[in-house]
Amino acid sequence: MNDWVLLGILIVVVGFALRLNPLLVVTVAALTTGLIAGKGLLQVIAAFGKAFNDNRFVTIIYILLPVIGLLERYGLQQRARTLIAGMRGATTGRLLIAYLFFRQITASFGLTSIAGPAQTVRPLVAPMAEAAAEKQAPTIDEAGRERVKAYAAATDNVGLFFGEDIFIAIGSILLMVGFLEQNGIKLAPLQLSVFAIPTAVLAFLIHATRLLLLDRSLAKRRVQEAGE
């Protein structure tokens, strides 16, 4: 066992902190770690290439871009904004809470790919959240818009992560079943997935509270403007 292999982790942390190009940082970290562990350069490059090829499925999602781009060309984002702007009582927080609920419920039935940053957040959820924020705080600045959009993407992640583990055939549950079986503990997927429910409920409560606080900070901005 060679403790110096941890140098790779240090390279990643320092490289990201210095805002160097992440692809370069990751490659240098991988080559360094492999060489320190006593592997040959070609062996490390081959292992790197094999895993890159085996993981092509994470890049599948860009297949959606031509459709999303085409619809944007004909005003999809504008439409999403108009829809929310005409809705009484629609606020950024309430909208995102509804989306969080939708995402958690669908993910808990294993429908993880029907929504996501390319599928729903960029074309629909982010412009809707932005339109609601414009109603709440008409003179919202660029930083405020960025924050609202970032919250839209964050809500998608929270909903996905803390919904999907309730589904019994999701990758992480199957990984746990396999790991425990290797170690002599036999469990059915359902026995594991029920323990995801309390965290799912708490995730909803915590994130929903933060979304309501986001609403309050937008409302406060409006009051300040009125006072000026």
């Binding site: 060679n2 941890l6 790779g8 990643v12 942390v13 190009n21 992440p22 692809l23 370069l24 990751v26 490659t27 991988a30 492999g34 562990a37 592997k39 490390v44 490059i45 292992a47 790197f48 290439g49 094999k50 895993a51 890159f52 090829n53 085996d54 994470v58 890049t59 599948i60 860009y62 297949i63 959606l64 871009l65 031509p66 459709v67 781009g69 085409l70 060309r73 004909y74 005003g75 439409r79 390319a118 074309p123 959009k149 970032a150 993407a153 964050a154 998608d156 992640n157 929270v158 992560f161 803390f162 583990d165 990758g171 425990l180 029920v194 323990f195 995801a196 708490l202 995730a203 915590i206």
Partner: protein, 312 residues
């Protein structure tokens, strides 16, 4: 039977088109860099299974060379103006949502209906149905909107250029994880975790397991990589065997503690960096920053849940 390979060919065609359209985009001073980058990704999707491990490794190094030394720019594909979009949105109304909704609905129906039909690989039913949904949505888009022939590819390239090199970061990080596994990084981290654990304290063991899951997930960008390491080092020998914790509660909630780590790290690029790029956010870490306030209290909740649910 339709397998994932069919979908890879379709994606290869799309990236090859992005590459060709990039070459002819004279408004982008770095058009050859973009063309080479998207072209190499097309090669990866077409021929990845035939290049051999070393061949794929060299392909990755070329991608890194292009991205790392600033060879990528941003093209300016022909598109509509803001006024044209507003007018089109006004004229077409809420029907504009329909083609976008076709994709998830097809993915849903395909997963439910076609999974055991024998026509498609049942393990990849959702992703293949998603691909089919894209083709159906494009067909509807062409028939209804009558765009120029290349418009979907040009608009797709516009979005792809805004994502840029971040598009392959998730694959790169998975590859880094594989090298870490090869080098035994997990065992070293697990050994350290066991060393710092004070003997005889259940509270400390639960905290170390849950926080360890989160921190190691932040380093690896993936809770799946952290789980076997932390559970092998602490969860199994100490929480389950020594303190007789319920294995289902320890593991299931431990994994969710890891997910809290995923919310807090740029290493989980597909969840945290790619969305920031897709939304054109100036701060690459804006999504992570929006998530930390949820992740930390939720991690604390998970520690309490392990403590109270696994050791009743």
């Amino acid at each position: 039977m339709i397998t994932l390979t069919w979908l890879y060919v379709l994606i290869g065609v799309m990236f090859a088109a992005f590459a060709l359209l990039s070459v002819s985009d004279r408004s982008n001073g770095k058009r050859f860099g973009n063309a080479a980058f998207w072209g190499l990704i097309a090669v990866s999707f077409f021929f990845g299974d035939f290049l051999g491990d070393l061949g794929n490794g060299v392909l990755v190094l070329c991608l890194v060379g292009l991205a790392g030394f600033g060879a990528l720019g941003r093209g300016n594909p022909p598109t509509t103006s803001a006024e044209e979009r507003a007018a089109s949105s006004e004229r077409r109304g809420n029907r504009l949502f329909l083609p976008a909704l076709v994709i998830p609905i097809t993915a849903l129906l395909g997963t439910l209906v076609l999974k055991n039909s024998g026509w498609i690989d049942p393990k990849q039913a959702t992703l293949i149905s998603l691909g089919a949904g894209v083709l159906i949505a494009l067909a509807i888009g062409y028939a209804w909107l009558r765009p120029p022939l290349l418009a979907p590819l040009q608009e797709g390239r516009r979005l792809m250029d805004s994502v840029g090199w971040a598009a392959v970061l998730p694959q790169m990080l998975a590859a880094l994880g594989a090298v870490f596994a090869l080098a035994g990084v997990g065992e070293v981290v697990g050994g350290i975790a066991t060393h710092v654990l004070p003997q005889g304290s259940l509270v400390a063991a639960v905290a170390l397991y849950g926080i360890g899951m989160a921190v190691f997930t932040m380093i690896m960008g993936n809770a799946f990589a952290a789980f076997p390491v932390m559970t092998g080092a602490i969860g199994l020998p100490i929480l389950i065997h020594q303190y007789h914790g319920n294995p289902a509660a320890v593991c299931a909630i431990g994994m969710l503690a890891g997910f809290c780590g995923t919310l807090m790290t740029p290493m989980a690029a597909n969840f945290n960096i790619v969305p920031a790029a897709l939304l054109d956010l100036k701060d690459r870490n804006a999504v992570v920053k929006a998530q930390v306030g949820t992740a930390i209290p939720l991690l604390a909740c998970n520690l309490l849940l392990i403590y109270f649910l696994a050791f009743r």
